[in-house]
């Protein structure tokens, strides 16, 4: 048979199968400072403003043996294109053998591209490329061409649509038959194509990156136009192609989580914030709480932001889901420490949630329903250049609970928890995928882009328990909500750029509990401006300001509490006289920052400084935070990195209310953070990062403070003071395998942290009792192991695409047990006034609970219909039902320890429909 066939090299058409390029995963250290050109508000979404184009194509040699056997193949490759357009690296995603891989790689290595640009600056990128080796039929006999010319023509026109999501498929090749001489055409940005072919049967072949080969037959009548829609099946298991946008790293450690990872990591219920807990440097929070305990810091010391604006309330009611809808995020960046000068207001880590720009092709959306809530996500172009994305979610536990709660005779029992949240984003700019993506070109070569976003959440909890058989009549009514509206304007001209991010917000915080009532409102006005300029290829400067103004008002009424209004007596709490207060506070927190990237040989130095000013009432606080990062490119695959610096976090405004309910003399919480590490790219999809850290926290807020004599008489226990200190050190290891392409089945990571965290306060414990670090103190120790200390934290996360719509994910965790103080009793110590026993403890935190280990598994199954996709998932926490210990408590006489178990096996089922 081979004798009748004529060999022919790979088709040039294959070169047109360039996928939408993505930023290279670990560019060279000497690469242009694309990160420098990426201001913080836009950091979550660097944009490829100019895709690479193939300018020099080299034909591959057909492997002789394959040729002899008449074999054909398509070799799928990942090409890393350097910032000068040369091919830096070529890797097959799935070797096909028979010499095709070697031949294709050898040819592609000689390719030459026009340099790609990211945010207007040349940058390394990766593209997926398919090299087809085909065999052609024998040369037609003489005169055949004339016959063909006389043959009547037909037109095939239509649109390529991604099956299950209705996304348009651009840059796909549409042709009739396998003949290399057959006419072919590329689909445009809307997936449309028009092909003129000889009338008759057309064996349609559609080749598109990330999609399975599409083949069908169309009968085309002479001189007629046939219009079709072809639904292409994605070759990956996910609904969307995995798009990574790892950017050049300046920070010593930045972990990036994609939307798919955020949604499909087992045990996280698809909650993006909880996925962060699976990364190195993050201690495990108790139960299913999503608290972020980063490198020895306490809860509340890690800041979470949505596109540069702080999220004031991260989780819904009582350990509920985070207020960030997973559908709305583009990706998450997590900085456990050593972050840039443009970031502040945290002495722990930073989580930056990058939101998603609305689709530019057509209307898409999804609806998700699970045990607790239901929500939707919609994205659509409005007009050319304007797109919108919106998401909302509401719980329905309040509708289910009445059916479960017991009926009370002659009384009322009502529990109404309710939450909702929303996100809305409107983007202004050119259509996605165009050379000036996200950008409007103005006169003089300057470019502007922008978007407006709103987000917020609302939590309500109403509990009413009344009746003659209840212990007491109880009425609790709380409501907390916040709203934020932000803008984002990015302006670039030449080597200068500017990003301006203003925002306004309103928070409400109401509590009614019996005679105690609080109505709190906070109005927020803030802005961030980052101005950067690339002075030379070796020096880039960035400067800016970051300001927030708050006006808080509290209208409170409550019975006079013991310990604040009078000296409490142990035991039965009396009912105090009713007090009423109206409090208003104006607060300003601002920062000026300046940093530079200086390239010296293989070194990149980034010195920076952030000056912070906080004013609340008559209080003025200043803090200066110098920081330095150094990166050394040891090899093209290995970087050494280090950082040290100071970090400041202002106390929340409400803590400044006058004595005795606040402390107007509070100062910035501070921390010294340092780290040293190495990162190495084992392969393009396999990276390892080892980082050691040492952090020292000081001036941290603790509650209560010391007992102090008031100048005008009386004695107060300061509700808060800056006596908190802490220290943490350890080593983090992260080994991550990413999916090389949509057909790559494996992804996941292994993270391990070895650390020691200490926490406490300067000076003695306050007289009259009081805890530190959020826990009660069982002895006189003012400093010791942190309650959150976990020596070993091991997490393994893996996802596997089984095919046919099935995906399987697993997460295994092991952490050392939490510190605990053992009992050392021998006699009972009874406080007769309180009717409570007092414990006699052994050395503070000299023991630990048992180690925690748990396996979570998640199975996803997708059914792709023509224009929509249905996905069902089963997320099982604690698959083998490990009896983990979350806490230890004692019986009432402190004679015996009892272990509070963690959650048992917990299956959660959810359904999601998307189009």
């Amino acid at each position: 048979m081979s004798s009748t066939l004529k060999a022919r090299g790979a088709l040039v058409a294959a070169s047109l199968l360039l996928a939408a390029p993505v930023l290279a995963q670990a560019p060279q250290a000497g690469a242009p400072p694309t990160d420098a050109a990426t201001p913080p508000a836009a950091q979550a979404q660097p944009t490829i403003t100019k895709p690479p184009e193939l300018v020099q194509q080299v034909e591959a040699q057909y492997p002789p043996e394959a040729l002899a056997q008449g074999l054909t193949a398509s070799v799928r490759l990942i090409i890393t294109i350097a910032d000068d357009g040369s091919v830096a690296e070529v890797l097959p995603t799935e070797p096909v053998g028979n010499g095709f891989d070697e031949a294709a790689i050898a040819a592609v290595r000689q390719f030459r591209f026009s340099p790609a640009e990211v945010d207007g600056v040349p940058a390394p990128v990766q593209v997926e490329y398919v090299y087809h080796f085909t065999l052609t039929a024998p040369e037609p006999e003489a005169g055949a061409e004339a016959v063909e010319a006389e043959q009547p023509k037909a037109t095939l026109t239509g649109q390529l649509i991604s099956r299950g999501s209705r996304s348009r498929v651009p840059n796909a090749t549409v042709r009739c038959g396998d003949d290399p001489d057959a006419p072919e055409v590329m689909s445009d940005e809307d997936g449309r194509f028009t092909l003129e072919v000889p009338a008759g049967t057309c064996e349609v072949r559609v080749v598109a990156t990330g999609f399975q080969l599409y083949q069908t037959k169309e009968e085309l009548k002479a001189n007629e136009t046939t219009e079709v829609n072809f639904y292409l099946a994605p070759s990956g298991g996910g609904l969307e192609t995995v798009v990574r946008s790892d950017r050049p790293k300046k920070e010593v450690v930045r972990r990036t989580i994609t939307r798919e990872e955020a949604q499909k990591t087992p045990g996280s219920f698809g909650d993006p914030i909880r996925v962060i807990q699976s990364l190195p440097g993050v201690a495990r929070a108790p139960f299913i709480s999503g608290e972020l305990l980063v490198r020895g810091s306490n809860p509340g010391q890690t800041s979470t932001m949505m596109d540069g604006v702080e999220i004031p309330l991260l989780f819904h009611l009582l350990g509920g889901p985070s207020v960030v809808n997973a559908e709305f995020i583009d990706q998450l960046d997590f900085f456990p420490g050593g972050y840039g000068s443009q970031y502040g207001r945290a002495v722990g880590g930073i989580v930056e949630v990058g939101t998603r720009k609305g689709a530019s092709d057509t209307l898409h959306g999804s609806v998700k329903v699970d045990l607790l809530d239901a929500g939707f996500f919609l994205e659509s172009p409005i007009t050319d250049g304007i797109s919108v994305a919106a998401a909302a979610r509401r719980s329905y536990i309040d509708a289910i609970l009445p059916a479960v709660l017991p009926e009370t005779e002659g009384g009322t029992l009502s529990v109404v928890p309710r939450y909702w949240d929303y996100q809305l984003r409107v983007d202004f700019g050119a259509k996605r995928g165009t050379p000036n993506d996200d950008t409007t070109v103005t006169a003089g070569g300057a470019r502007s882009s922008g978007y407006i976003m709103a987000f917020g959440s609302d939590d309500q909890l109403r509990v009413v328990s009344t009746g003659p058989e209840t212990e007491r009549d109880l009425e609790l009514d709380t409501r907390m909500n916040f709203h934020r509206v932000k803008g984002d304007w990015t302006y670039r001209k030449g080597a200068m750029w500017s990003v301006f991010t203003p925002f306004v917000g309103m928070d409400r915080n109401n509590i009614d509990f019996g005679l105690a009532r609080q109505e709190g409102k906070t109005y927020t006005l803030g802005a961030r401006e980052v101005l950067g300029i690339e002075l030379s290829s070796a020096l880039t400067l960035r400067t800016g300001l970051d300001i927030v103004f708050e006006h808080e008002r509290y209208d409170v009424s409550f019975p006079a509490p013991g310990g604040i209004e009078y000296v409490p007596f142990p035991g039965a709490e009396p009912v105090g006289q009713q007090l009423e207060e109206q409090i208003a506070l104006n607060a300003f927190d601002g920062a000026l920052f300046l940093e530079a990237d200086l390239l010296v040989g293989r070194f990149t130095f980034t010195p920076g400084v952030r000056g912070n000013l906080q004013t609340v009432g008559n209080t003025r606080n200043l803090a200066l935070d110098p920081r330095l990062w150094v990166r050394y490119a040891a090899t093209s695959r290995t970087n050494l990195k280090g950082s040290l610096g100071l970090y400041s976090q202002p106390p929340e405004t409400f803590r400044f209310i006058p004595l005795p309910y606040g402390n107007p003399d509070l100062a910035y919480q501070r921390a010294f953070q340092s780290s040293l590490g190495v990162e190495h790219r084992i392969t393009d999809v396999l990276n390892v990062d080892v980082t050691g850290f040492f952090n020292r926290r000081f001036n941290n807020i603790v509650s209560p403070g010391q007992l102090v004599a008031n100048e005008g008489g009386g004695v107060f226990t300061l509700p808060y003071s800056n006596d908190g200190i802490g220290r943490a050190y350890g080593v983090e290891v992260m080994l991550k395998k990413e999916r090389a392409s949509a057909t790559d089945k494996w992804s996941g990571w292994l993270s391990y942290t070895f650390s020691r965290a200490e926490d406490g306060r300067v000076g003695p414990l306050p007289q009259g009792g009081g805890g530190f670090g959020g826990d009660s103190v069982p002895d006189d120790s003012a400093y010791g192991l942190s309650p959150w200390d976990q020596t070993h934290i091991l997490t393994m996360v893996a996802g596997y695409v089984l095919g046919n719509g099935w995906e399987l994910g697993g997460r295994f965790r092991y952490t050392s047990g939490r510190p605990m103080t053992p009992l050392a009793s021998g006699h009972d110590v009874y406080d007769a006034d309180r009717n409570r026993y007092n414990a006699t403890f052994g050395p503070y935190f000299s023991d630990r609970t048992g180690g925690f280990h748990q396996l979570d598994v998640r199975v996803d199954k997708s059914w792709r219909f023509q224009s929509w996709t249905l996905t069902a998932y089963l997320d099982v926490q604690n698959l083998y039902n490990a009896k983990n210990v979350e806490f230890v408590f004692n019986d009432y006489r402190f004679r015996r320890e009892y272990e509070v178990p963690g959650i048992p096996i917990l299956p959660v089922v959810g359904v999601k429909g998307s189009f």
Binding site: P468, L474, T478, P561, Y566, P568, P574, V829, Y830
Partner: protein
């Protein structure tokens, strides 16, 4: 907001704790216990706020000290006791010998131990009046009254209990202050039937039996104390009653009191005998505390049969 979240976390923890079956319960008295301590009067009120010989004399009146010692499984074994007055409320066992004064010691039998003591007259080994030392060690500079810990050490067999009660010595620091009146439970009812002390009540069945106290609202005093910020703060007592029995358990085990929001509990509880128990006489104790140092108790008996 943060406070509410912390309360939320606490609620979750309490919920999880509730899932753990704790064997030993305060209301089920099965071994040696000190169930209550009281002084009569519950507090002293000096005529002036300077601690001088005259006021010390006023505060040195005798006090009747009572301790409710129960030992249902002890078969009447002797109970050794030692009573100290100390200076530091944080010294729960009165271990600091330089700051303590021995008031009484001896051996007694289970039941109510009654002693006549004069804690206000106590002087330390260095001749310092104990009240002066209490004042020195008080971080609140006497704004909550001088609170002298009375620590009773008791031992029955191998079981040892240190029990502390604060004896309050007030002075009229602000207008309207009056000495505390001892709280007394006016009476108890079982399933709405009066429960007298004279004869054991007959109870039959698996229960639960609803036990209530007679209304105490009118007995709860409104009183005035010096304020830490304001001149004076007006408070109203919200009594708590703890419930104990030699068989079965009470739920709730403590009633009354007020929450942060001033929502007061009602004195209603349910007593439930254990399944499979034999008919027997059961002793019940209800100990009331007024939240400012006053305390007393009632003892009741019942003949229970399944």
């Amino acid at each position: 907001m943060k406070t509410l979240l912390e309360y939320g976390g606490l609620l979750l923890l309490l919920g999880a704790t509730a899932c753990v079956d704790v064997e030993d319960q305060p209301s089920r008295v099965h071994d040696f216990r000190v169930l209550g301590l009281a002084t009569e009067p519950p507090e002293f009120m000096a005529s002036a706020c300077e601690l001088n010989p005259a006021t010390l004399d006023e505060l040195s009146e005798p006090v009747t000290y009572r301790a409710l010692l129960v030992d249902p499984a002890g078969e009447g074994r002797p109970i050794q006791y030692t009573l100290w007055a100390c200076a530091d409320p944080e010294d729960r066992t009165c271990a600091n010998e330089s700051n303590r004064v021995l008031l009484a010691e001896g051996t007694t039998a289970p039941g109510e131990l009654t002693l006549s003591i004069q804690p206000g007259a106590a002087t330390l080994a260095d001749e310092t009046p104990l009240l002066e030392r209490v004042q020195e060690l008080d971080p609140y500079l006497g704004l909550g009254g001088l609170r002298m810990p009375l620590v009773l050490f008791t031992q029955a067999g191998e079981e040892r209990v240190y029990a502390q009660k604060l004896m309050v010595f007030w002075c009229p620091a602000v207008e309207g202050m009056r000495a505390n009146v001892q709280p007394v439970i006016p009476g108890l009812r079982v399933d709405d039937v009066a429960w007298d002390a004279e004869a054991p009540l007959e109870l039959r069945g698996a229960g639960p039996f609803v036990v209530t106290s007679e209304d105490v609202v009118a007995l709860q005093e409104t009183y005035v104390v010096p304020g830490l910020r304001l001149e004076a703060v007006t408070l109203r007592e919200s009594w708590e009653i703890s419930w104990h029995a030699t068989l079965g358990e009470f739920s709730p085990q403590e009633t009354g009191g007020s929450s942060f929001g001033g929502q007061e509990g009602r004195h209603r509880t349910e007593w439930e005998p254990p399944k499979g128990a034999q008919a027997q006489e059961v002793t019940f104790w209800a100990v009331v505390r007024d939240g400012r140092g006053g305390s007393s108790w009632l003892v009741r008996r019942a003949l229970w049969s399944p």
